[in-house]
Symmetry: C2
DNA sequence: ATGAGTGCAAACCATTTGCACACGT
DNA sequence: ACGTGTGCAAATGGTTTGCACTCAT
């Protein structure tokens, strides 16, 4: 008997739902939440359920086709861009934007150096105010 | 009339609950969840509710007395250590450990350089396997 | 044909909130 | 006294799951 630590990966089927979820995530471009993506996909598959969207996002992430981004502020977000990059999130409006990874140096390297964990990955989240919310806040202060 | 953008901060009272929550977080040392802390505090205040723990942790964080750590893997965690440092989390058992910040360079600096957001803060989370889970996994593979 | 995938509704679980009362200032 | 803080229970909201059915392979 084959007693492997990791059970054999299931053979995945490319259902219409799965394909369209992936297409729409790529088309959406940003970092939609499952719910936002659900709205979008519904325009093409009106009967698709939110649960199916979640299930497929998990499968796609496991397959390495997409990346799930767990930022503060509640919901998970999903990203079809696979290149290493980080995220800034506006604490006011929740807007998320990519930032390039290079200026931060080799974080994985540094991580491996400072701890005895077997480093598998890492996530850098930057919190701040987007230009428009920053401007709005300054306006408020002036008139206050 | 005083029309400030930010309403006057409330005068906070140092209730027994608030003081003991802070004491227990400091005594606990690690990165307990609200629930774990609730268990601890209950030994001294048997009737305290989880809601009160949450409320006070929010207040204490806002006052800068503690830091809330939002890592992947469900619950928020809380930290009484205020010095800048990052966190490694074992993806297997959920254990969280501190890592020093120096080897990573000035992430805030880099963040400000690469985006037009007004950077307020950032959080680096490293995912990996703690030594014992890594060992366990290797053992499994060998015998599998 | 067969088991992965689906829609639906209900379950889950961390966190939050409404309310009437209690207590720190 | 005043209004912040508390306990309790119920609500919330993102995510997951059980089930019977459907469909890709």
């Amino acid at each position: 008997m084959a007693r492997t630590g990791h059970p054999a990966p299931k053979r995945r089927r490319m259902t219409r739902q799965r394909r369209i979820i992936l297409e729409e995530l790529r088309a959406a471009g940003g970092h939609p939440t499952a719910d936002e993506l659900h709205q979008r996909v519904r325009q093409r598959l009106p009967r698709i359920s939110l649960a199916t969207v979640y299930r497929n996002l998990d499968v796609l992430a496991e397959a390495g086709e997409i990346v799930t981004v767990r930022l503060a502020g509640g919901q998970r977000r999903f990203d079809a861009v696979l290149d290493r990059h980080y995220h800034v999130r506006c604490v006011e409006c929740g807007k998320v934007r990519d930032v390039p990874a290079e200026p931060f140096g080799d974080i994985g390297e540094a991580a491996r150096r400072v701890c005895d964990f077997e480093v598998l990955g890492y996530e850098l989240q930057i919190d701040g105010l987007c230009p428009s919310c920053a401007a709005a806040r300054r306006g408020e202060q002036k008139q206050g």
